[in-house]
Amino acid sequence: MFDDLSSKFGDIFDRLRGRGALSEKDVAAALREIRVALLEADVSLSVVKQFIDVVREEAVGQAVLRSVTPGQMVVKIVHDQLVKMLGPEDAKINLNASPPVPIMLVGLQGAGKTTTAGKLASHLRNKENKRVLLAGLDVARPAAQEQLLVLGEEVGVDSLQPVFGEQPVGIAKRAMETAKREGFDAVILDTAGRLAIDHELMMEVALVRDTVEPAETLLVADALSGQDAVTTAQAFNDKVGITGIVLTRIDGDSRGGAALSMRAATGCPIKLMGVGEKLDALETFQADRIAGRILGMGDVVGLVEKAAETIDREEAEKTARRALKGQFTLEDLAEQLAQIKKMGDMQGLLSMLPGVGKMKKQIADANIGDKTITHQEAIIMSMTPKERRNPKILNAKRRQRIANGSGTSVQDVNRLLKQHKQMAQMMKKMGKMGKKGLMGAMPPMAGMPGIAGGMPPIKHQPQ
């Protein structure tokens, strides 16, 4: 219900701001270009189609920022949606199993499994302080086991000594037994490259999986891949079951659309990125970076972000100017609430600002959570425009109606009105004190009656 309300709130807000909303036509036109961009970035066609549908639904009706064309606005929406879909960024390698924790790497030939095994071993040892055993299960490719041994030596991690003629399942078993006996924390199993359509070899790796029951089965995949990425990822997920994706060759100049394809096809998070041949060239996943590459429209995204900043600043200044004249209405309060919400987690945000540490308790007391703000918005939303502009007419009956309409209590309504009154008075006073520059006299933050003077709702760049 609150969601519904706050989206309605958003609509009205846009009308207040006097900017248009994205029409279906605007969106369709822009999405045609987006489709081309995504296909050129190697996002699989099937995923492109689905993605475009999702974005269309998301974008139609959204507000267009002033000084931005509808097309540019759609690009920004697409970018944000890409980031959202590529995420999460914080997916960690799962080590929550009784040691030794088996981690298995699978993928197509030449994708970068063995190299990633070396990198991951080094990462787990250096960053997570784990004792890692490397085990090479690739008995097919010439010198595959030697390759892993050399990498193990290079990063200073132990390797299971190969036994001539031993098969993958046997090697896996021996690796786990050895690791258990010798007190290793984790075992990284490097498997041979295999085609997703190679039934026999897919069965083989499934057998290894059943033998060791890996805590992580990571699909190592090339960021240079084309349309087939979706088929491959789906097949590995269906036949072996993966828990995460490692994208290699991010250091190349590919647009990397395969990332989205594989993320979508498997539902598995992208956990790591290979950014070079060297053994420290392993990074955690950055959705923003990959989204930017896939879309290849960084300028437009930057432009819209800049426009949004400018508008936020202008809004803030306008509110301030009116507030100083004693015209701080409930509509202005609503605007402030919206801006606060846009800034995200208030408490976290505030605590990052210099000098705010001391106010922490006040902030906590004022209970400025997202939920409070949503409630307050809902209350204002449930008022008629006339009530918003002139709260004096709010008698008991009207207050009850507003409480019902917003799913809050009359006490909540009263609290908000009181708060608004205090803020309006305080600002009038400040206005009389003289104009020491607009930002110095910004209205206090909504929901924070205790913090006089307040802070500008949005970071302000003095000109």
Partner: protein, 315 residues
Amino acid sequence: MSYPDKDAKAGWVSRLKSGLSRTSQNLNYNLDGLLNKRRLDEKLLEELEDILIAADLGLSTATKLTTKLARTHLNGAISTGEVKEALADAIAEILGPVAKPFVPNPTLKPHVVLFCGVNGSGKTTTIGKLAHALTRDGKTVVLAAGDTFRAAAAEQLQIWGERTGSQVFAKDPGTDPASLVFDALTLAQKQSADVLLIDTAGRLQNRGELMAELQKTIRVMQKIDETAPHTCLQVLDATVGQNAHSQVEIFSNLINVDGLVLTKLDGSAKGGVLVALADKFSLPVYAIGVGEQSEDLQSFDAREFANSLLGIEAN
């Protein structure tokens, strides 16, 4: 930056997933289900274009091909066979001129072949397979382990040398590849070997310093034989997408690439980007890789490749 909560995320994933299986089924129709006795209208053309895009031909090449089809057949009733043939014809027409088998020049002792390409594309394995084909023909072959960077790259080549009865020239890891190649060529000349196959480390085309290293390797070998390498082959992985354009463009700008080898065609990826590459760069395709064993190297056949792109059964 805020992220959707977990449930919302699961929501879009499952939505995309269900949509995906639907769409990939659509795509997997292959032309049989798609084209049975239909009018060749805009909708059908779009579906055809989708099939070509899904095979990595790229948007512009796909559009070009369907536009061509439209010119000759639009609004006519067209059978499955006709559409397949027409498209395959058009693709084979583009690819026909680029098919070129590798034949060593017998007057060269050795005929020097340099292999290059991005990481993991299949250079070393292709060298092994080609060595197999050449030694089977009675040629003497020397392999130069010019990848002194990647762990156990020389050992890998060594095994191919043993398998094929070719001599392998290798040095310690970290050796300057240019000097290694210089010595390998000197040796192969002294032995009057028929062919010298030079392996190089995988390198991404945007890594300037690695590309410069490759240029240096070539310059240094030209001190001995200024016509070397006689054939410079760039190895491409069939799974590659549109980045192949950048790969081919940059490699052939910086070194003289004579032709391509397309590997891993035994997988589900069709390597359709080759059609666009042929159209744009006209580089010959010397061979294709269809597996990991010695015998899994074949000469490139334009018509077969076109048929495979369109799912036309061999008869």
